[in-house]
């Protein structure tokens, strides 16, 4: 079975902190994605990557950056966390068709 693992299930950070969310997949997928999920808004794409060291902005990239130094790992970085970044963050990886998700990280910025 495909496994997508996010480093933390719950995270609490202070305003202004630099935050790293890590995601690792074990199926050699080319494509990896970071979404955030907020009530009533569904899943919104932050960044995605189709190859090592390659990244593309999604719909809401402001305040975020990403890193993909190895194929299996895709990191989301909050440069200076703010309270409006409190959300559920979901990582996904995919082959050419089907996407698989991690368990999600619920981030609270206080």
């Amino acid at each position: 079975d495909v496994k997508v693992t996010q480093s933390s299930r719950y995270l609490v950070k202070r305003t202004g902190e630099k935050v790293f969310l890590e995601c690792v997949q074990d199926m050699d997928h080319e494509n990896m994605f970071w979404y955030r999920q907020d009530p009533g808004l569904g899943l919104r794409l932050i960044y995605f990557s189709y190859d090592v060291k390659m990244k593309e902005k999604g719909d809401i990239p402001e305040g975020y950056s990403v890193s993909r130094e190895k194929k299996e790992r895709f990191s989301l970085i909050l440069e200076s966390a703010s309270t409006n970044q409190t959300s559920m963050y979901l990582c996904a990886s995919s082959s050419t068709v089907i996407a698989f998700f991690g368990q999600g990280t619920r981030l609270t910025v206080v």
């Binding site: 569904g42 919104r44 995605f48 068709v97 996407a99 999600g104 619920r106």
Partner: protein
């Protein structure tokens, strides 16, 4: 990019009832997928269904690509079917972003 609309936004049913969830797309789409998010936040891929009909146990899905909609059918609902159902798709016009609808929250009452 494409727009994805799901209906109804909320659905409350008695155990044993059948339900139909709908997904409309604003433009031609491929790579259409249905997901179930359980109460713990985990997103599980249910179907990859760019066109036609597929069945998996009590669940089935139909996509009519020419009319830009997809339907998810759940028969003989069980309490474990509760959660949020999302559809997502990729545009046919080179946009590689997997775009999600806002979801249908299904609650099955014992």
């Amino acid at each position: 990019g494409i727009q994805v609309e799901q209906s109804p936004p909320d659905l409350i049913l008695q155990e044993g009832a059948n339900s139909t969830l709908r997904c409309n797309f604003s433009d031609s789409v491929n790579n259409l997928q249905w997901f179930h998010q359980n109460p713990w936040g985990q997103l599980i891929n249910l179907f990859y269904i760019p066109s036609g009909t597929k069945q998996n146990g009590r669940l089935s899905a139909t996509t009519v690509a020419t009319e830009r909609y997809s339907l998810l059918y759940i028969s003989s609902s069980q309490t474990t079917d509760s959660g949020v159902y999302f559809c997502a798709g990729l545009s046919n016009f080179g946009n590689e972003k997997l775009t999600f609808g806002t979801g249908t929250r299904l609650t099955i009452i014992p």
